[in-house]
């Protein structure tokens, strides 16, 4: 199993958010989690990425034969986990290019691969940016600083395509995107999809799933997955909302 979440319960500030959650993802699969506001979707994404604000009450997560709780935030990233943030953080003064260069090399180092030099990295970045319709001038700017909502999301996908993760978690990547930007972003994701990597897509709406076809759709309500199935569930939610699952 690529990612195996067993009986996971998580709380933050005395509030139980995830309750006995189970989820299995195999290599090459695309899973979508849909759920109403406050159901715990982003908490799941943050717990997977290693955010330290949460208290794990119970359960286990296994990722690529590692106990995920043994790995800190950066080790998870270096092992191939990637979170595309719902609200990417603005970091003035940290330039995009050297930051991403350092990120990719920290992953290569862990994998005992040769580090990528400046020139090769610049070429890689330029070509990936051009695929995503990102202006080269944007790469001279600070991380997410002064970006529009759409630019931030596009920049998350650029990072994802550079870091080429084994498991990408997209936390409401569609929110705040107009239809053209949504198409560019989802094209970027589809280009990256192979039989060796997996995706966990968190969204409220079916729209995103029109562009990225999931193998499985899960409905999350009140901290647990209450229904799993194929893309027909997304259509069901689009038609009737989440009410009937609650």
């Amino acid at each position: 199993m690529f990612l195996e979440i067993k009986d996971l319960s998580v709380k933050i500030e005395n509030k139980n958010i995830l309750k006995s959650l189970n989820l299995n993802i195999n290599k090459g699969e695309v899973h979508a989690i849909m759920g109403p506001n406050g159901s715990g979707k982003s908490t799941l994404a943050n717990v997977l990425a290693g955010k330290e604000d949460y208290e794990i009450l119970n359960g286990s997560i296994n990722f690529k034969d590692n106990d995920l709780f043994d790995l800190n935030i950066e080790e998870r990233a270096q092992e191939g986990m990637f979170l595309a943030f719902q609200y990417p953080v603005e970091i003035p003064g940290v330039n995009i290019t050297p930051f991403l260069h350092s990120a990719i090399n920290s992953k290569r180092k862990r994998m005992n691969e040769e580090e990528i030099d400046n020139l090769s990295f610049a070429k890689l970045l330029k070509s990936k940016a051009s695929d995503l319709g990102i202006n080269i001038d944007m790469l001279k700017r600070s991380v997410n600083t002064g970006f529009s909502g759409g630019e931030k999301k596009r920049y998350e996908i650029l990072q994802m395509s550079i870091l080429n993760p084994d498991l990408a978690i997209l936390d409401e990547t569609d929110s705040g995107l107009d239809i053209d930007a949504l198409k560019i972003v989802t094209d970027g994701v589809n280009k990256l999809k192979t039989k060796d990597n997996s995706f966990l897509i968190i969204t409220h709406y079916q729209k995103l799933l029109d562009y990225i076809k999931p193998d499985y759709v899960h409905v999350m309500v009140n901290g647990s997955i209450v229904k799993s199935g194929g893309s027909e569930i997304a259509a069901e939610i689009e038609k009737d909302g989440f009410q009937k699952f609650q």
Binding site: A49, G50, K51, E52, N72, I73, E74, R76, A77, Q78, F82, L83, F85, P88, V89, I91, P92, G93, V94, F99, L100, S102, A103, I104, S106, K107, R110, S142, V143, Q159, L163
Partner: protein, 408 residues
Amino acid sequence: MNIQDNYQKNKKNIFFSENKDIQTYREKLINIFENDRFDKKNNESLKNINLKNFFDFKYKYLISEETSVINNNQENSYSIVSVNGQCLSYKDDKIEITKILDEDYIDFSKNDIIENNDHFVNLNSLFLNSGFKILIKKNNNIKIKISNIITDDDLTIFQKNNYICEEGSSLNLIEEYENKNNSTSNILNVIKLEKNSQLNHFLIQDNSSNHNLIITTHSSVKKDSTYTQKVYNFSEGYVRNFHYSELKEANSEADLQGIFFLKDNNTSNNKTYVKHLAEDCKSNQVYKGILNDRSKATYFSNTHVDQVAQKTEGYQLSKGILLSDNASYFSKPELKIYADDVKCSHGSTIGPIDENAIFYLRSRGMSKIAATKILISSFINEELSSIDNEQMSEIIQKKLVRYLSKVK
């Protein structure tokens, strides 16, 4: 020993002690000391100060006769090694360097911008034992680098320097303070900018933990002139940077910037007082600090806009990153505005490093320590990238790398 006895005993080593007017002035200062309660709560010059370190008067006053060096190695460019606050006299058709004179002392004693209970300025005036005067002649564009060296342990330098930029002149002044002996430098820089002149003043402070550095600057800026001060404090010893500025004539400007990097038990006290006394003047202040361990800093800032000073622009900003729960940074920016057509603002942001930013960077594979260091560098990136002197920029970068290597 009290101040009076100390003064009497060391009179022979103190500048201008034969001058009657100066004697009278000094007696007034002694009175201020004797009648002051040294109220640390209400006296900004005493905040975070260990009084014993400065007022027990066990230090030496007699300055050994070391010779300073002046080199005019490139055209319009001079390098000076000032030893124990002294500088050789020098003269050419562009600049003139002399010892500080009685008249300069008296002239400064008449200023009323510095509070009479700033005891470090008073100590400086009372025990003055060194100092020089540099004059940049009309319409010259000059670069000067001064290395300030203290030769002896237990020495206290009370130094008063005058910098005068005549009309149309420009001075790029870099001062380095890198002392490693157990000593104190109490320096008062008096700066006068005549019409249409400029002074870019960089101060690099990197003293060891047993050297105390107290710098007070007074700048008076006339029409169409700009004084810029950039202080980079990497010292392990106590540092005080106080600045008093008077924007005396129209379209004059003061840009003050202070960046400090503190650790261990170190303290940095900063204060500014900018007086806008004419129309169309501008002042801009940015003070940023990174504080680790049990270090402390203060920033007291006062921008005073006189009622004639219409169209004033006055900005104050202080920011601090606290890398430890035991570090503290007290910031108090104040504006006093008596004109009605002005643009002024003040702001202060002090807190720990942004955990969300750390999480974001770590989630891309960066270690926590690398993420912390990159965020510290980014915090001061704007100021560092604005340094247009390549040599200065390299020096600061090296010192920053050294500071960051100690951040755990």
